[in-house]
Amino acid sequence: MRETLLSNCEREFIKKAVADKRRIDGRQAYDYRHLKISFGVERGCCQVEIGDTRVMSQVSCQVVEPKQARPADGMLYINVELSPMACPSFEAGRLSDFGVEINRLLERCLKESRCIDTESLCIVAGEKVWEVRVDVHALNHDGNLIDACSIAAIASLAHFRRPDITVSGDEITIHPASERDPVPLSVHHMPICVSFAFFEQGKFLLVDPTDKEEKVMDGRMVIGMNKHREICTLQITGQMLLLKDQVLRCSNIAVVKVTEITELIHRALENDRHERSKGGKFGFAETVCKEKLTTNQKTSTPLDMDTVEGQMATEYLHGSDESDSDSHITSSEDDDDSVVIMDSGVGSIGLGGKNTWNVDDEMEELKDEGTKKSTQKSQKTNIDKPVPGAGNQGYSSEEETTEILGQTAAKQTTESNRKKKRKS
């Protein structure tokens, strides 16, 4: 299936925003999205969410004959599957270029770095060894699948338990979980991939790109590293040339990120172990927060006002008794660029000049009052009145009087009387 083409407008905007050091979701250039690791009921089942990107991995094992060249080594087999569930442009079955890239990357990162001790997987040298298989499925693709897959793979390998085995002469007994506790794999270290997206020939870089940023980027660099600062894999793709110091800078950033992520994995494993030993409930169902309607759709996006800069506007929100929740901004006549508010819902920005439609006498009078906040003005505003129980608060800007029920109606009439007195 085809994927929606990225429009020129979005492309230009993202490039410009990256040059201004801004990201669409408000992150800083080196920030990861919200990372959540959860384990399932079955041993070796792990689900990782980075923002909206979601992957799930499952580890399983079976007894096989070892390879001829390495008779005393077990085998680790990694498989990443990209299905159309994750993204409409992924084809079912056939592995695309990107699929091959992820598979190869994870193989290098996990197998060739020897994060799992394969010699401990040997049962009878030359005859029987354990083959451990990690299957990673991409459930949703919103950018940065590589990081998510690597975290899921290593977390599930650390979570997995294989059946215990006793060898007596020629007989091998594989004990089921009910007889003997399953045994964990011996994980030497946890290699984790960190992705960097580059823009404008390597001038700007972002960590953890989202889907849109990935479509606009010039190229990507993936550093696989563990918390002992050992680089397990390094890969650069795309049409760009990087300088030496950029690569070094990225590896320094990766050290910090990998330490944080490894800490997170350990904490998640510890929580899961604690729950299991306590006899409490564990698994995916328990990680879902049940009280909220939007529990599986959206994590709460905090409104971050700190990164927004500017100078404070003068004279606003002079709280009168009834409109302290009013966000009505009064104008300052000097500044050309500021919004000139004529009336509630009616305003003009410097260039256009005064509003020439429906200019009533009342509005003229309001404008002439200038910047002085008056209680009469507040009567005209028809917004921001959290009146309990009032559903429709009448937000159309054409209305001159508000439909606020209850006690404020009385106040209104007194003020309109006052206003009439002023007029005359």
Partner: protein, 210 residues
Amino acid sequence: MEIEEFIFQNKIIGKYFFFLLSVLGLHYFHLNDFYLQYVPVRGESVIGIVTNKGGDVFRVDIGGSEMGSLSYLSFEGATKRNRPDVKVGDIVYCKMLMAMKDMEPELVCIDSTGRSAGMGVIGRDGGFLHCCSLNLIRKILSSDCPLLKLLGKTLPFEITVGMNGRIWVRARTSTQTITVINAISTAEYMDNTQISAMCKKLSEAFIEVD
């Protein structure tokens, strides 16, 4: 009088329910739910992305199951000699001329009098296109949602809302554009009081940057 037959759990009850509503005078109603994919409806204004030019027709992606077709001549002032300046990847704001379930949808960028009425290529000079769910679109366009008006009091911005779940926003700077887009998407599950509170917080924190 049109009674749209929605696929209800029990179709017969659905028909009677809608008949009842139409007897009460309500002739158009929506069952509001969380929808992401757009189903083309005649007469709705949508934002499309031009993916292809061929023959006399642009192929426009409107987020539905089929691509829409937009003829070269459906622009204001376009003739066979005077072709509109539309490139692949441009965003167009257009109206659905024809949307039937058996045929591919047709779009136009002029109204019945031949004027563009704001339609046509948008986003030439900046702005950002954001995709969201259809119920959010209906919510912000409804008359009792204060979001756009309140946001507009603090941040002057230009906005085009397509009924297919796409919003194009342009404010003075990219920061402001991002702020507006995030404010709109976080307002999806907020009620009016929360929206007002959020806009008030924004107005306190944020003022125009030159």
